[in-house]
């Protein structure tokens, strides 16, 4: 395993962790979700990277600008810049493993960004784990999360000097990020990807929910339901075996 920084086009340094050999046939760029969800998803993404390494495949797990150990100001980040960060990650992979196939795997917003960039990055494999279909819905949910905590702890929401949806669990949203998230709607504007994507629903239901199924149909891809708690929202450990098993049987063994 190597932990290092790699450059973006605008000279920031993003933190990344490389697992596996540089001569691997396929290298995965692992795209984490947003803000607090990144923290909760980290362990699962690391387990996925370790599973890939066992199979002789390599991966780069990185942090978008303004998150984790990457440089940059979160409040100044936006989705356009994060898409550029994904491009920088692909460039780093190409530098280290010029002949490898590129595969993208993302969780939540990381999945959405991976889909938006997959075609232009030349990805040959694309795995989307609970892609964020509606940015507005995401913002409302995050605001509800903040309201829950404030009401359960008696913390006065009025202490905040900006509206609840400007601050997600301590992550202050910049105007650009808020605007881009508010207008992000994959159900209305389906990106194109010329290959089949592997789409995973993670939650309590064994059947794929209609909105995600519709989304998968629009991508000419299959969606699969994995029954396990939504790990990106949890504080406690959740057994990732159902998701890892699904990835093995649907993607890694294929």
């Amino acid at each position: 395993m190597q932990a290092f920084f790699f450059p973006t086009g605008d000279a920031l340094r993003l933190f990344g962790v490389w697992r596996g050999v540089e001569a691997a046939r396929r290298v995965w760029v692992l795209c984490p979700p947003f803000a607090e969800e990144e923290k909760s998803a980290r362990r699962v993404l690391t387990l996925i990277a370790q599973e890939l390494e066992k199979r002789g495949e390599s991966s780069l797990l990185f942090s978008f600008r303004g998150t984790g150990d990457s440089e940059g100001d979160f409040a100044a980040a936006n989705l356009t810049a994060w898409r550029e960060d994904l491009r920088a990650a692909r460039d780093e992979v190409k530098k280290r493993a010029p002949h490898a196939e590129i595969a993208l795997l993302g969780v939540r917003l990381g999945a959405t960004l991976a889909l938006l960039e997959a075609e232009s990055l030349g990805a040959q494999t694309l795995v989307l784990i609970e892609p964020l279909l509606s940015g507005r819905s995401f913002l409302m949910q995050q605001s509800a999360k903040k309201q829950i905590r404030a009401q359960l702890t008696g913390e006065a929401e009025a202490k905040s000097d900006h509206s609840p949806s400007d601050d997600l669990d301590g992550w202050k949203l910049g105007a650009g990020m808020k605007t881009e998230l508010s207008t992000l709607d994959l159900k209305r504007e389906m990106p194109s990807f010329s290959r089949k994507a592997h789409i995973f629903q993670v939650g309590p239901r064994a059947e794929v929910a209609p909105p995600l199924q519709h989304f998968a149909d629009g991508l000419n891809s299959q969606a699969r339901a994995v029954v396990m708690p939504p790990f990106w929202n949890l504080i406690d450990y959740s057994d990732p075996a159902p998701l890892l098993d699904g990835l093995k049987s649907e993607v890694f063994d294929g």
């Binding site: 409302m140 509800a144 949806s165 239901r205 939504p230 949890l234 504080i235």
Partner: protein, 87 residues
């Protein structure tokens, strides 16, 4: 909303609660007036799952202005909340 419709709504809510929180109880065993947070040890993370469940399965979007934790105290209060939002 008439009594039958309200009862159907409560049945759907109980199923959603059990599924979303991975509870080891039958939905029918949840009493309409049982204090959910105390009875099932629901914390802020679990409560958030119920918020997501309302949106995913009932089409209820929670704006900041109308969000109150008290709406999630019992199945009865959740049903009242959902029926009012659906009006």
């Amino acid at each position: 909303m008439n009594t039958d419709t309200m009862n159907q709504l409560k049945t759907r809510l109980k199923k959603m609660i059990v599924e979303r929180l991975f509870l080891a109880v039958a939905p029918a065993d949840i009493a309409d007036d049982a204090p959910l947070m105390e009875t099932y040890d629901i914390d802020s993370v679990a409560l958030f799952e119920l918020v997501v469940g309302l949106e995913d399965e009932f089409g209820i979007s929670l704006e900041d202005a109308d969000f109150q934790v008290s709406a999630f105290q019992t199945v009865n209060s959740m049903a009242d909340f959902v029926s009012k939002k659906a009006e």
